[in-house]
Amino acid sequence: MGPPLEADRDPMELLPLTDLAFNILVSLKDRHRHGYALIKELRVRTGRRRLRTGTVYAALARLEEAGLVAEVEDPDERDDEDARRRYYGLTDLGVEVARAEARRLQEILELARSKELLPKTGRAP
């Protein structure tokens, strides 16, 4: 389970997210990560090899302040060396917002497909 419930805020109020913020939320969806691991994953997944540490942490600070991301105590893999690291995970609001943003992007993609900007590939049933 994720961290405790955030207050009942409307996820739509926080949209649209920045590209980086959305990517962070997506990365944290399936597992909690510490900052450096997150940066490494984002660099690989987005292809932005020059993504800077300060930029990612500033984004994390904003997401944490907005209540989408929270520090978590119990990381999946823990050893002594990592004991002093901060691990981050999505809050329930964070999940809601990520979902809403994904839907928003999907609608845009569908619009792009209907205008033949993208090939009409088969959609999942």
Binding site: G35, Y36, K40, R50, R52, T53, G54, A58, A61, R62
Partner: protein, 912 residues
């Protein structure tokens, strides 16, 4: 440098960069971030150069993202703050709505008080301090002559100007504008002739003033001189510069006008330039040179050639006198220039015996100061009135706000006890007051704008003609007043902070007198004082206006229609006999008009601002003794006395024969001159020495008439000598036609008739300034009347405000003493006793205010006496002003006194 070393250095730099981050984010993420950053740089591997590049990029990004976070926080804080302020504003607006009477009173007071002040100060500012469109106007001066001890300023003579120009070092330039003459301008062949005022000036006039024509050029040294044909002026190649107004109205606003030819008094002249719009000469009234000539021509030159061979004083009074405009040399002062000029005048006295005999002196005065001196008294009084109104308004609002704050102490104390923050309450109160002042300011701006344009529209010409351009001083004053008010009302919230730890039931306003009572009483006394002071000043004005209206000016304005005409055509009326015959013909035709009982001409009308002063000789006086006596000469025809309604006291007026016959050397004098000639005996039959056409002749006095106020309704000028027109047949004259016509339509018909009479005799003669004599009288009274009505309105408004103030303080103090008064009544005081106690307070405040007000108007007296007709020895204004202020104060305390006398002692004491 090994790896460990590098890491330590980088760690320090990262810590430094982290300072850009907001404190909280730094505390939360700083350590973790540093570690991730160092690891990232390490993991990338590579040589020292690669490390350095990556470290630098990371550090820059780190600092930049820190600043971005800070900016986020700042934006958020601003948003929160503005939301909070909006909330507070809504609360404040609700507070004002809850008390609509108070709010409306305050806003209206502010609108009228501050807005009215702004409008009047704006006008005064434009009149007194507007800068004319000259270059460095503060370095311009006017030069005048005076005659031994007589302060009356005289125009300077052209040849003397030539001497001043030659012998002074402190002046960078000295231009001369000769007396303006009237003339006719004809644009095209066969077009109608329009009347224009022509100023002849030295060619450097625009240079000295520092004015650039908007089209074409000014005069150049090559331009031919202008002059009457009989004096050898004129000829081909004449040039003129025209005013912007003439260019617009008569010349069709044609931008290609420079170079085209018009006919001026029948002679062809090339228009070379057009002056800027609104250009005017800044001159005092009576300068004999109108402020806005339509046409400028180069003066015939050289100036020194205009001196008469014998250097007689006659030069002082002839047509070649005018206004000399000086520009100070850089570094020169008015004092140094005046001293130098006085020295040159002394030299002239040494050289010319007539000047020595007359003790002719030269004076130099700053141009702007000189030109505005005559409106200084009225303007200062208006400004004082406006500032008085502003002060009363401010005091009034301050009293209102203070009293209201005191009344709300109980509510505030309760709120405090319920846990509201003191600062929060104070901020709310201050905001409420600020909102009030803001609303008042908006209303004041609208009021100032509307009343400002209204004022300019109704202001008399003496003021409005000077008002050239809007300036900002008035707005600054009013802005400062509003800022001050905002501050005062903001301070009105301060008492809340003093509430501090007091317990609810001991808070002021619940029982006993509230603190700040003395301040409020002081403010009310000041209000009463200012209104009493202004009212006294207003009453002085009223008395002067009454006096002016009550006194006979020496002529009958009612039923007299006047018009002017000028004979400046080169080919006609060149001799005095010819002109006299023409005037006789016009006079006969005018008298033949239906309803007309008399018609006569005069060289210059009363109150029209022109005079012709010359010496005269008493019986037995030698010619060299003459200059001691100076009189206003008026050339007239026989019908003038009856037409203007000047009463004959002794002897007879002129005959038709004397209108036409040059050999009849006769004069009519006024009673003052008659007394000088004959003492208590009769002057009729005695002879008088007068200079006619420059030569002294002896003329017989045939009649004595009453004195006429020619210059000003408030005072008689010099003694007057009336000379038959035939003797000194000037080219510019005014006609007076007496008839029974009174209604506007009758006057219109008569105006049309007189025009057609003149044009029936000669269509080329320009007829202008057709107006009733009453218009001149009105214009002469206009400044005082305008000031009177404004000051009167101010005084009334202030009195109203002051009475509200007195009412407020008495009512408030009575309310807070209810318990004491109730107790008094319970132990036997009658209702009348309590009423007297209350009224005494009103009397006390009013008495102090009235006394202070009289002192205040005493301070205003030096300004007041500058207004014509105001005399200091008049006790009535003091008495009425002081008593009215006192009476209003007492009246204002009647209502609270009545209320208190109906108190029920049982209820009052029971409610405790």
């Amino acid at each position: 440098m090994n790896t460990g070393h590098r890491r330590r250095w980088l760690e320090r730099v990262v810590r430094l960069c982290l300072l850009a981050w907001p404190r909280r984010a730094r505390a939360e993420h700083g350590r973790d971030l540093t570690r991730s950053l160092l690891e990232g740089v390490d993991d990338a591997g590579g040589g020292a150069l690669g490390f350095l590049g990556r470290a630098a990029a990371e550090c820059i990004a780190l600092a930049a993202s820190g600043f971005a976070l800070r900016l986020d926080r700042f934006r958020e804080a601003a948003r929160m703050w503005s939301t909070g302020l909006a909330l507070d504003m809504r609360v404040a607006a609700r507070g004002l709505r809850r008390n609509p009477g108070f709010s409306l009173a305050a806003v209206v007071t502010l609108a009228v008080g501050v807005g009215g002040t702004g409008a009047v100060l704006g006008l005064v500012d434009r009149v007194m301090y507007a800068t004319p469109p000259y270059e460095e106007p503060e370095r311009l001066a006017l030069v005048w002559n005076t005659l031994g001890g007589d302060p009356t300023r005289m125009r300077v003579a052209a040849p003397d100007v030539a001497v001043y120009r030659e012998r002074t070092r402190e002046l960078a330039g000295l231009a001369f504008v000769s007396r303006v003459t009237d003339g006719g301008i004809q644009i095209g062949e066969g077009d109608a002739v329009s009347h224009v005022r022509i100023a002849a000036a030295t060619r450097d006039v625009f240079g000295v003033l520092g004015v650039q024509p908007v089209l074409g050029r000014g005069f150049s040294e090559q331009d031919r001189a202008w002059g009457p044909p009989e004096e050898g002026g004129g000829g081909e190649g004449l040039v003129v510069v025209v005013s912007h107004e003439l260019w617009r109205t008569e010349l069709g606003a044609d931008p290609g006008i420079p170079g085209s030819t018009v006919r001026l008094d029948g002679r062809p002249a090339v228009v070379v330039g057009v002056l800027p719009p609104g250009f005017r000469l800044e001159l005092p009234p009576g300068a004999g040179v109108p402020a806005r000539p339509d046409v400028w021509v180069p003066l015939r030159a050289p100036l020194s050639a205009l001196r008469r061979a014998d250097g007689r004083l006659r030069d002082q009074d002839s047509d070649n006198t005018g206004v000399a405009i000086a520009r100070l040399r850089p570094g020169a002062t008015f004092e140094s220039a005046a001293a130098e000029l006085a020295g040159v005048a002394a030299e002239l006295r040494g050289e010319i015996p007539a000047y020595r005999a007359a003790d002719l002196r030269a004076e130099l005065r700053p141009m702007l100061e000189d030109a505005r001196r005559h409106v200084e008294g009225v303007s200062t009084l208006l400004a004082a009135g406006a500032i008085g109104l502003l002060l009363v308004t401010c005091f009034n609002i301050a009293t209102l706000v203070l009293a209201r704050g005191a009344r709300r102490m109980q509510e505030l104390t309760v709120r405090l006890a319920l846990g509201s923050g003191r600062w929060g309450i104070a901020r709310g109160l201050a905001l409420e007051n600020a909102l009030l002042v803001g609303l008042g300011a908006a209303a004041a701006l609208v009021f100032a704008d509307v009343s400002g344009s209204l004022l300019s529209a109704v202001a008399p010409p003496a003021l409005s003609q000077l008002a050239t351009e809007p300036t900002r001083t008035a707005r600054i004053v009013v802005g400062a007043a509003l800022a001050g008010l905002a501050l005062v009302t903001g301070l009105g919230a301060l008492p809340v902070l003093r509430l501090g730890g007091r317990r609810v039931h001991s808070a002021p306003g619940v029982r006993g007198r509230a603190g700040g009572g003395r301040v409020r009483a002081g403010l009310v006394v000041a209000q009463v004082a200012i209104s009493a002071g202004l009212m006294t000043s207003g009453l002085f004005l009223l008395r002067s206006a009454e006096r002016v209206r009550g006194e006979h000016p020496g002529f009958e304005a009612e039923g007299a229609l006047t018009f002017s005409l000028s004979l400046r055509m080169p080919d006609r009326y060149s001799g005095p006999a010819e002109r006299a015959r023409l005037m006789h013909e016009i006079g006969t035709a005018l008298e033949g008009l239906p309803g007309v009982t008399a018609a006569g001409l005069v060289g210059a009308l009363p109150l029209a601002g022109d005079r012709w002063t010359q010496p005269y000789g008493l019986p037995g006086q030698a010619r060299h003794e003459w200059p001691e006596n100076r009189a206003d000469y008026r050339v007239v025809t026989s019908g003038l006395f009856e037409a203007l309604g000047i009463r004959l006291l002794e002897g007879r007026t002129f005959t038709t024969e004397e209108d036409l016959n040059e050999d009849d050397r006769v004069v009519v004098v006024d009673e003052r001159l008659a007394r000088r000639v004959a003492g208590s005996g009769t002057a009729v039959g005695r002879s008088l020495g007068i200079p006619l056409d420059g030569a002294p002749v002896s003329a017989q006095i045939v009649g004595v008439v009453e004195r006429v106020r020619y210059e000003d309704l408030t005072a008689f000028g010099r003694e007057a000598i009336y000379v038959p027109y035939r003797q000194e047949a000037s080219r510019d004259v005014a006609w007076v036609v007496r008839s029974g016509a009174a209604s506007p339509s009758e006057l219109d018909r008569l105006s049309a008739s007189v025009r057609s009479v003149v044009h029936g005799i000669d269509p080329q003669i320009p007829v202008y300034d057709v107006r009733t004599m009453g218009r001149y009288v009105e214009a002469a009274q206009a400044s005082v009347r305008f000031a009177l009505s404004l000051v009167g309105a101010f005084a009334l408004l202030m009195l109203l405000a002051a009475s509200v103030g007195v009412y407020g303080i008495v009512a408030y103090e009575t309310a807070s003493r209810e318990r004491e008064l109730g107790l008094r009544m319970a132990v036997g005081a009658s209702a009348a006793d309590v009423r007297a106690l209350t009224m005494r307070r009103g009397l006390q405040v009013g008495g102090m205010g009235a006394a202070a007000g009289l002192v205040l108007s005493g301070l205003l007296m030096p300004v007041l006496v500058r207004i014509p007709g105001v005399t200091t020895g008049d006790p009535l204004p003091w008495l009425v002003g002081g008593l009215t202020a006192l009476a209003v104060s007492v009246l204002a305390s009647v209502w609270p006194a009545r209320r208190v006398s109906r108190l029920d002692p049982v209820r009052v004491l029971g409610s405790e």
